[in-house]
Structure formats: structure tokens, C-alpha cells
């Protein structure tokens, strides 16, 4: 085998999440009342568009989750020896993007470095000039002439490829019925997924164009150590998604269990749980996170031998960050659920169940939980974007993820000092901002649609 699969802690949790999601989807599909609000989401134009964009992010994130150790050679007995370097499927696909490193900063689509260096000419003389990039625009002439035309031609070619991929995909989705696909494209047609289809076409075309260009240029420039910013941004997607979803996954059991227990049992159970979350809530969150992350850092540096690789270490820190963010963020959901349960426990169907002698646990699981799930769902979706932004802020003040982990926060943190430079190094910041902005905006719009679809009060107005 040419590789050895590696499952990091966060990978395992992602697989768990995907598994849970699959079960939820399966369960939802069998229950009409659960399916109805999702139908409404899918019918909404904004819902379709944002779902396509989010799906793009998720695919990139999932590709980046398939980790392995590449084979580095054979030992004396002919057994395979694997490198300790951890790569992901995304790294393989991105291939040259990862390995083609320049010396230092270079602007997007540049053919020369950003700063002057002493260069030794072939003739032996030395001059101070902008050195030619090793990979960026390497197919062009030394002077970089004809760059603009080349960029446009390559972008158009890439976009065409993207469109072709889209066409193939749509044909497969429509079981090869060409007329249905043509129908999808027709303006003003009644195809239910028209907006989604167009968004997918747009996303694929743009991404394919960028991808095509990325083979020849650094489309978003390079950073201080010459790494491609486009590649970094793509790698950061996984970190952002993980923070947004794993944190919720971590806090969900506690929030749900404690929230509905407090509301249902009341009395001393309620007192204890309320005391717990009001106390937690009154500690400044950033302080708690900073303390926990710094403690973790010291532990890791004292026990460096427990980690096989840097990636593993960074991964554990990421997981820890999710945990601590979860600890500080479960309280609001818990409080919401307590309030809702206080209302539900007085409802007549709960009373009827008690009149049947149904046990407390069963009442909680069958009567309370399903009827608060819409609140849980809305909270998850609403919290997601907040958590993605929180990661960026925390990494910016360096109590976030490990510096070795690509994340938008780290990118911003790295670009911070270069903002004072003249001319300004703007591309790291802008790339991080653009990717994060798209994700958070899509998530926010999506959560609005979800909330509208699940809110029984709004439904009546339709």
C-alpha cells in the first residue's frame, strides 16, 4: 500500500458527526412532519443557493479530513516505511499547490517576488531587483509578458471545464434526461431547483477557473514563507467547519439533557442546574478560554513525546478549543430549552402521559425532546457562524488553534503586521476575509430560512 490511513481525534468526531447526520436524514425522511419544514427550506430560493455554497465548503472540508501517512520507502526486510508527515486527500488533489513554495511574499498573479533581492545574473554581475518567481507564471517569458491575456484565457478555459463538470453532474442527477436539464436553465421555468442549479453552475465555474489558474499562478499570492494563500484558505475551511460543528456536537448532549431536566423536574434539580449555568455564564468567556488554552499549551510542551507528529499535536489543540468553546456556549441553549420545557410539561399531552403511568424518562424522550428539537436545530445553525467568527478572533489573539494549523484566524494574525508595510500586503487578509465572509453569510442566510421554516408562528402567515 502506498499510504497508511490516519484517523486523528477530530477526524473521528467528524465521522461520528456524518454518521449522526445520516441517521437524522434517514429518520427525517420517514416522518412527514419532520420532512415538511425541510421541504420548505428546499423550496426557498435563498435556501437553495446557500445550501449549494455550504455543500461546496463541506465537500472541501471532508476531503481535507481523509488523512493518511504517505509511504516514504522500504526498510531492509522490504516492509513499507511510512513518513510521519500527515497528508489529506485535499493535499493530494491540490498536489503542486502545496509543494510549490516561493521564497516569500508575492502578490496574486505575480511573476516576481514582492521585495527586491540581490540577484546574481548569469553574467556574474549582481543587481538588486525583484527576483523571478520559481513557480508563479513560470510558463511565461522571463519578463512576464502577455500575462493578462494568458490569465483570461486560462480562466475562460477553466470556467468551461467547470461548466462541463456541472453539465455532467446535472445529467447524472436527472438520470440523463437532457430535456429536464435544459428546462433547469430556462429563465422563468418551473423547475423546483432552478436557483440551486444556477448557483451550482456559478460556484463550479468560478472554482474551476481558479483551480485552472492555480496550476500556473499563485492566484491569491503567497505568504511570508512563500506558501500559496489559495491553498491555505482551502485548508482553513476544515478548521472553520470543525469549530462550527464539533463545538455544537460537544455541547449538545449537556445542553439538551440539563435543559430539559431542569424544566421538567423543577425543584432542586432545577436549582442545581440553574446555579451551574448562571455561574458559568458569569465568568468572562474569553478569560476561561485563554486560561484553558494556555494550560493545554504548557501540558503539550511538557509532554512533547506523547505526540507522534506536529499534526497530531495541532489536532488535539483544535479539539480542545472546540471543547472549551462548547463549555462556554452551552448555557444559552440550556436556558432556552429549560424555558420551553417548563411550558411543555404543563401541556395536556404530557399530563395525559402521566395519567397513563408513563415513566419520567419515557416522557422526556417521547414527548419533550421531539418537541424542543426545532429549537435545538435553530440554535445549531445560528451558532455556527458565530463560532466560525469566534475562532478567527481567538486565533488573532493567539489563544486559538495551533499556529501550525491553517485557519482564517491564523492567516489574519499573520497578515496583521504586514498591513503597516508600504506597499501593503493585503492578499492574506482579503483571502481569509473572502472565504470566511462567504461561509458566514451563507450560513446566516441559511439559518434565517431554517428558522422561518421551523417557526410555527410564521408558518400560519403563509
Amino acid at each position: 500500500m502506498s499510504f497508511q490511513p490516519v484517523i486523528l481525534w477530530t477526524d473521528a468526531l467528524v465521522y461520528l458527526l456524518v454518521f449522526l447526520l445520516a441517521i437524522t436524514v434517514w429518520h427525517t425522511r420517514r416522518h412527514q412532519h419532520l420532512l415538511m419544514p425541510w421541504r420548505r427550506v428546499a423550496q426557498s430560493r435563498i435556501g437553495q443557493a446557500t445550501m449549494v455554497i455550504l455543500a461546496f465548503y463541506v465537500i472541501v472540508g471532508l476531503l481535507d479530513t481523509l488523512h493518511f501517512n504517505p509511504r516514504s520507502g522500504e526498510d531492509e526486510q522490504g516492509r513499507a516505511v511510512y513518513s510521519t508527515e500527515v497528508l489529506s486527500a485535499l493535499d493530494v488533489i491540490a498536489g503542486p499547490l502545496r509543494t510549490q513554495r516561493e521564497k516569500t511574499y508575492s502578490a496574486p498573479f505575480a511573476t516576481h517576488l514582492f521585495s527586491k533581492e540581490t540577484i546574481e545574473r548569469a553574467s556574474g554581475e549582481t543587481v538588486r531587483d525583484y527576483p523571478r518567481l520559481q513557480y508563479g507564471g513560470a510558463h511565461l517569458a522571463e519578463s512576464g509578458e502577455g500575462r493578462v491575456a494568458d490569465v483570461f484565457a486560462k480562466a475562460a478555459f477553466g470556467a468551461l471545464k467547470g461548466a462541463l463538470v456541472w453539465l455532467l453532474l446535472m445529467l447524472l442527477l436527472h438520470r440523463l434526461r437532457v430535456r429536464r436539464v435544459a428546462h433547469l436553465l430556462m429563465p422563468g421555468s418551473t423547475h423546483p431547483w432552478q436557483i440551486g442549479g444556477w448557483t451550482a453552475l456559478l460556484v463550479l465555474a468560478v472554482f474551476a477557473a481558479l483551480w485552472e489558474l492555480a496550476g500556473y499562478y499563485h492566484v491569491l499570492g503567497t505568504d511570508k514563507v512563500g506558501e500559496d494563500v489559495f491553498y491555505q484558505s482551502l485548508k482553513s475551511i476544515r478548521t472553520g467547519l470543525l469549530i462550527g460543528t464539533l463545538t455544537t456536537l460537544v455541547m449538545l448532549p449537556a445542553a439538551i439533557l440539563l435543559g430539559i431536566m431542569a424544566g421538567y423536574f423543577r425543584g432542586w434539580v432545577d436549582d442545581v442546574i440553574q446555579y451551574l449555568y448562571t455561574t458559568l455564564n458569569s465568568i468572562p468567556g474569553v478569560l476561561l478560554i485563554a486560561a484553558a488554552v494556555l494550560m493545554m499549551q504548557i501540558y503539550m510542551s511538557n509532554h512533547a513525546d506523547e505526540f507522534n507528529s506536529l499534526t497530531e499535536r495541532a489536532d488535539l489543540r483544535l479539539l480542545f478549543l472546540c471543547l472549551i468553546l462548547g463549555v462556554t456556549s452551552w448555557t444559552s441553549l440550556c436556558r432556552l430549552l429549560r424555558g420551553e420545557t417548563l411550558k411543555l410539561r404543563e401541556l395536556e399531552y404530557v399530563q395525559a402521559a402521566r395519567a397513563f403511568g408513563v415513566g419520567h424518562f419515557r416522557i422526556l424522550v417521547r414527548h419533550i425532546l421531539p418537541n424542543v428539537m426545532h429549537i435545538v436545530l435553530i440554535t445549531i445553525v445560528l451558532d455556527f457562524s458565530g463560532l466560525v467568527l469566534a475562532e478567527a478572533v481567538l486565533s488573532y489573539i493567539s489563544i486559538g488553534v495551533d499556529p501550525a494549523t491553517s485557519s482564517w484566524g491564523n492567516m489574519i494574525n499573520g497578515a496583521r503586521l504586514e498591513l503597516a508595510r508600504e506597499p501593503v500586503v493585503w492578499w492574506s487578509l482579503l483571502a481569509a476575509f473572502g472565504f470566511m465572509f462567504t461561509l458566514v453569510l451563507a450560513a446566516n442566510l441559511f439559518s434565517d430560512v431554517v428558522r422561518d421554516a421551523f417557526d410555527p408562528r410564521l408558518r400560519r402567515q403563509r
Partner: protein, 685 residues
């Protein structure tokens, strides 16, 4: 007898009508398939006249009111016809002009006084707002005018009340404030949309009386919307019967109650529960109201009408002028009035059964009131304060009283859903309050409950099958899943539902069907006692009849006992064997239904019964109007709880609570009027 009936002055009869609604049509929702909520309705109201729109829920009566006021919900729009007030069309007015009409010439009061008032403004300020807007002459004396209005609507101590907030007022007082607000603009027409539905009968009687008095004084026209035939009889000069967005009949009130023309009107009367119908089942209107998102090319009542013939299904019935009104039917007047065949009576006469099933002794439920940081107990809400009841096998005991008197808490305490503070609940000789929770859980199959609101009594996320089978699963009976399914289908059949209903969700059913499912759920464990907590008060008359018939049949065939908690006296008269009247946590009168309802001994019972509107204008009782509201159970009055409102209060009533006395016909009454001492006094005098 009809002295309470206000006689409208026929002076302006010849003049143009005050309100003229011509062929009004209102649609709600999308253009393709709008709900035709109002579908070509015409009627007129003269000055000083009360016109009542009668109809079941969802028939479009509120939409008419909102169309007149041009206050339709966002998706609604008037698509045809006209509304004229004093000959001036309201449809062509600009929004600004319309604003001065609303609250000016046309006042409106709503069903729910609790939500119609702004909780953060004093009631005086809210009325003053209306005065400033609609009464320009009195702009300088707003405060005086508000106090005057408060006095007009009978709010005691108006100078103090104007500075109070809505939560400090009772429901009846809030409705009076709403009426004061509507009167601020000196309206020529008052639209009252179910103004008393949310109120207790004694308060309802006060408010209706007030409306009649105001009408006499100001000569305004009233458009009253209600579903209650009793209210119609008490208030109406003329009646319009709505069905599925259309007026089915317009008639003089007296004529309407004597001989209703339309088969639907006639059916409504026969579906009313009354004491006289005890021996028969109630007449039911089969089926449900048709969906209103269709264009009707035939009579919309045809599917539910028992006198349907070919023409009914072929074309729209014509409007037939008849006497003072008219009706919409293919039947001509003589045929329409001909007596229909007697309803197939399904219920058998009462089977008297004996044997005591449930004995409640000195039941008390007190809720502690906590105050301060340490949450000290500073007092108790005595929701139930010493209730004694016995229910025999196969008997129905009705527990009646106004809201807040603790009747629901009694039901819950009997079922141990609310742990009693003191007292015994002996069921089949076992004191339920002393059982451990696991013993109690095993015994729970013997007593069940049916709730008021069928919408909230079933988990919306469970299939009907799971809902009905829940008790069987909890009690571990009914075998495996397939066997349970069979039993569920049998139960559904028993309450008159299709077996296929098991695979659907509760929201797919109408209110009456849902209540049937709730009954099936309660029956699943073969209970000996079912506590029915206002099981029909959320239902329309025709559906109520179905449910009451079902409950009666089940009692006769299975020997179940009911504790029937209700505020609806006519249901009591129809269904109950014994009746207990509750006031402020205590039973004041308890005895056989005929005795208590026929010759009430306690002054409260008397007042309660006389406040119930009787659906017959010729038989309006001499009304005993109760003053004020029920006191708070936190701080009940000294002595007899009822004495502050009692017309016969004596000195002793203020000092001591009366003992429970047995009258000669076996009933128990707690009143000093009947005590031996008092009777002795009476003999001496």
C-alpha cells in the same frame, strides 16, 4: 318574561339603514386558490337594532366584521360588493378617512380582552387615546370624559380605576374598558366579535346587560357575532345564520326561535344539549364544513343536510324572501317548515347503577406562595379547600363553577396528577394519595382523563397509533406490536373513526375527530372512571353533540363513571346524574341533577343558573345578577366565601363559613339560609 329584551325604537325605520352590506365577498390567500371566507353576503342593520351573526367556527363571521372595518389580515382582500354606513361606501374611502371611521362612527370590541389592551399603559390612558382621536369636542376635558365613560360602562370607582394597569383588572372589567374605548367615538354602529366568549356566565350576563343598556341610551346599532344560541336569544332583534361563508337565513329573532326556516338552523337547535333531551341522543350534523377554497356550484350544505334532494346537488339554491327575512334553500317555505322525521335515537335510557367507585373526603390542594430572597412561604392559594364527592359506578357527576374556582384542580388531584395537600381519594376502597409511585403507576389504568383542548392534548409529533397505544405500552398490556395495532383499530372503530386514521398525525383531523381520538386513548386501558375536563367547550355545537352522544353511549355500554368538569350548564343537564357546584375551592351545593338545576337552594347556584342564556327568547329567566367578580383564592373573604356577592347575605355569613347541611331531597348545601337556626328564626318571625 321578555322584560330584559330591549325594544328598539322603530322611529328611523323608514330611513336608510345604518349599515348596508351588499354582496360582500372576501378572499384570503393566493390568487389561484383563495379561501372564499365571505362569499356574497348581504344584510342591513338599522339604528337601535341588534343584528346577530350566528355560526360555527370558521364560517366567516369574523371576516365580515374585519371586512367592514377594513382590518383584514395581510393575505385577505375584499374582492366584491360594498359596505355602506349611512349611505356612504367604506370601500372607496382612503386609508386616512377610514381611520377616522374606525373608532369613530364604527366601534369594535374583540373576543379576548386580555390581549386587546396594552399591558404597559394604564387603562385610563388607553381610553383617553381613543377620546383624543375621535371626540374632538372633549379634547380639553379628556380625563373627565374618560371617567364619564368608565361610569357609563359600570366600572365601580372610576376615578381610581383609570390609573390602573390591565393586569389589575379582572376579565369582565377589561371587557368593560374595551367597551368604553369603543364608545369614546360615540359610534353609530358597534361591532362586537364574540364579546363574552372568554368570560364566565355570570360576567357574561353583566356584559350583555351593559350592551343592552348602552344601546337603549345611545340608540346605536349593534352587530353581534356569536356561536352561542343562548346569547342570540338574549340579545338579538334579527338573526343571520352563517354557514361556510354564506348567509343561510336572516330572520326576526322571535320568528327564528319559533320556526327556523333553513335545515341548518333547525339542525343547530336540535344539536343543543338540554335537560329535555336526556332520554334521547342528541341530533348530530353529519360530516364537516366543506373546504372554502372551492367555487360552489351547488348548495354548500347539501352534503350534511338530511333533507337533501337532487336540486341541492345541481345548482345554487335561490334566496327566498320570507316574512321579515329570507333564507337560501331549494325548499319552499311550507316544506321547509314541515317537521322532519324524529332523529334516530341511538341512546338508551339511563341505566341506574349503584356501588361507590370513588369517594373523595376533605380534599385540599394548596399552592404555597413564595416571597423574598429566602423564598419563604408567606401564604397559600387555596385552590381546593375541603371538597367531598362520591361517584357511583356508571354514574356521571358534573362539577360546575366559574373559571378559577378550582374545578380542574379537583380533577387533577383525584388523578394524582397534582399531589393533594390533604384529604383522601378512595378509589375502589384504596386511598390513592397513600400509594407509592410504582403502586400508583400500576393502578393508573383504572382512571383516565380527557382534556378540553384536543389540539394540545396530543403530541403533534406522534402518529395516532402511537398516541392511542401509549397507555398500553406504559402499562405493559396489549401484547406485541401487531396485537396492539389491532386493539388500536378496534378502539378507533368504537369512537367512530376509520382504522386508517392510525397512520396519520393528529393535526390532520378536525377538532371533533381529535376529541374522539382522545376518547379512544382514554378507553385503551378499560378505565372505570374518566375525568372529562371541559371536553366539549372548544368544539362547535354540532360537533359537541357528536362527542356528548359518544360519551353517553360508552357509559351505557361499558358502565364507565365520569367526573364531568364544565361550566356549561346545558351539557350538565343533558349528561349528568349528579351535580356539584363549586365556588372558590369549595362545593356549595351537591345533589341530583334534576333537583339542583330545577330548584337551586344555594344563592350562588341560583345566580349561576339564571345567568346562563337560554336559547329561547320566550323563556328568559328572571335574572339574578351577581355583582363584582369572584374573590381571589389567596385571600378568601371571611365567613361564607360567597357573602360579598350574595343578595341574601346576613350578619352570620360574614363571621362563619356555613356548615354542610342535608336538604330533604338528599342534596347537600352549604348556606346559612338553610341552617336549622335560621329556619328557626324564620319560624319565629
Amino acid at each position: 318574561m321578555s322584560g330584559s329584551q330591549s325594544a328598539p325604537e322603530p322611529a328611523t325605520e323608514a330611513a336608510a339603514p345604518l349599515l348596508d352590506v351588499v354582496n360582500l365577498a372576501t378572499h384570503i390567500g393566493g390568487e389561484e386558490r383563495p379561501v372564499r371566507a365571505v362569499d356574497g353576503v348581504s344584510f342591513q342593520i338599522r339604528r337601535g337594532e341588534t343584528f346577530v351573526l350566528l355560526g360555527e367556527s370558521g364560517c366567516g363571521k369574523s371576516m365580515i366584521a374585519l371586512s367592514i372595518m377594513r382590518l383584514l389580515p395581510h393575505a385577505g382582500r375584499i374582492v366584491g360588493g360594498d359596505v355602506r354606513i349611512d349611505g356612504r361606501s367604506l370601500r372607496t374611502l382612503s386609508e386616512a378617512e377610514m381611520r377616522s371611521e374606525r373608532g369613530g362612527r364604527v366601534g369594535m370590541i374583540f373576543q379576548e380582552p386580555m390581549t386587546s389592551l396594552n399591558p404597559v399603559m394604564t387603562v385610563g390612558e388607553q381610553v383617553a387615546e381613543a377620546v383624543r382621536l375621535h371626540d374632538p369636542d372633549r379634547r380639553n376635558q379628556v380625563t373627565e370624559r374618560v371617567v364619564e365613560l368608565f361610569r357609563e360602562v359600570g366600572i365601580p370607582d372610576p376615578e381610581r380605576r383609570v390609573n390602573e394597569y390591565p393586569h389589575q383588572l379582572s376579565g369582565g372589567m377589561k371587557q368593560r374598558v374595551m367597551i368604553a374605548m369603543a364608545l369614546a367615538g360615540r359610534p353609530a354602529l358597534l361591532i362586537a366579535d364574540e364579546p363574552t366568549t372568554a368570560l364566565d356566565v355570570t360576567i357574561q350576563a353583566q356584559v350583555l346587560e351593559l350592551l343592552r343598556r348602552l344601546q337603549r341610551e345611545t340608540g346605536m346599532g349593534i352587530l353581534l357575532i356569536t356561536h352561542d344560541l343562548g346569547v342570540v336569544a338574549e340579545m338579538a332583534d334579527r338573526v343571520g345564520v352563517m354557514y361556510a361563508g354564506e348567509l343561510m337565513e336572516i330572520n326576526d329573532a322571535a320568528e327564528f326561535f319559533r320556526a327556523p326556516r333553513h335545515p341548518y338552523s333547525r339542525k343547530l337547535f336540535r344539536a343543543l344539549p338540554m335537560a329535555e333531551k336526556r332520554r334521547h341522543g342528541l341530533d348530530v350534523i353529519k360530516g364537516i364544513v366543506p373546504a372554502l377554497d372551492q367555487v360552489f356550484d351547488h348548495c354548500r350544505f347539501a352534503d350534511r343536510c338530511e333533507r337533501v334532494f337532487d336540486a341541492c346537488r345541481e345548482r345554487q339554491p335561490p334566496w327566498r324572501e320570507n316574512g321579515a327575512g329570507g333564507y337560501r334553500c331549494h325548499l319552499d317555505p311550507e316544506t321547509a317548515l314541515a317537521a322532519t322525521a324524529a332523529a334516530a335515537s341511538s341512546a338508551s335510557p339511563d341505566v341506574e347503577r349503584s356501588g361507590e367507585l370513588l369517594a373523595v373526603t376533605d380534599l385540599k390542594v394548596h399552592f404555597p406562595i413564595h416571597r423574598g430572597v429566602m423564598r419563604r412561604v408567606v401564604g397559600h392559594v387555596k385552590a381546593v379547600d375541603g371538597v367531598e364527592l362520591t361517584i357511583g359506578q356508571g354514574q356521571t357527576v358534573a362539577l360546575v363553577g366559574e373559571s378559577g374556582c378550582g374545578k380542574t384542580t379537583v380533577g387533577k388531584a383525584i388523578l394524582q396528577l397534582q399531589p393533594p395537600t390533604a384529604g383522601e381519594v378512595c378509589f375502589d376502597g384504596v386511598d390513592l394519595a397513600r400509594l407509592s409511585s410504582s403502586e400508583l403507576r400500576a393502578k393508573r389504568s383504572d382512571f383516565q382523563i380527557i382534556f378540553q383542548d384536543p389540539a394540545s392534548s396530543m403530541n403533534p409529533r406522534m402518529l395516532v397509533e402511537d398516541i392511542v397505544a401509549e397507555g398500553m405500552v406504559a402499562q405493559g398490556i396489549g401484547g406485541n406490536r401487531a396485537e396492539r395495532r389491532k386493539r388500536v383499530e378496534a378502539l378507533l372503530a368504537k369512537v367512530g373513526m376509520q382504522p386508517a386514521a392510525a397512520d396519520r398525525y393528529p393535526h390532520e383531523f378536525s377538532g371533533g375527530q381529535r376529541q374522539r381520538i382522545a376518547i379512544a386513548r382514554a378507553l385503551a386501558l378499560h378505565p372505570k372512571l374518566i375525568v372529562c375536563d371541559e371536553p366539549t367547550s372548544a368544539l362547535d355545537v354540532s360537533v359537541q353533540a357528536q362527542v356528548l352522544n359518544l360519551l353517553r353511549e360508552l357509559q351505557n355500554s361499558m358502565g364507565i363513571s365520569y367526573l364531568f368538569i364544565t361550566h356549561n350548564i346545558s351539557v350538565v343537564a343533558y349528561l349528568a346524574h349528579q351535580v356539584a357546584v363549586m365556588y372558590l375551592g369549595r362545593i356549595v351545593e351537591y345533589g341530583d341533577v334534576d333537583a339542583v338545576l330545577g330548584r337551586p337552594l344555594h344563592p350562588y347556584t341560583e345566580a349561576l343558573l339564571s345567568a346562563v342564556p337560554v336559547p329561547d327568547p320566550a323563556r328568559q329567566p328572571d335574572v339574578v345578577r351577581l355583582q363584582g367578580d369572584m374573590p381571589s383564592p389567596i385571600n378568601p373573604p371571611s365567613g361564607c366565601y360567597f357573602h360579598p356577592r350574595c343578595p341574601h347575605a346576613m350578619a352570620v355569613c360574614r363571621d362563619r363559613y356555613p356548615p354542610r347541611l342535608a336538604a330533604d331531597d338528599g342534596r347537600q348545601v352549604s348556606c346559612w339560609l338553610l341552617s336549622p337556626e335560621r329556619q328557626l328564626e324564620g319560624a319565629q318571625v
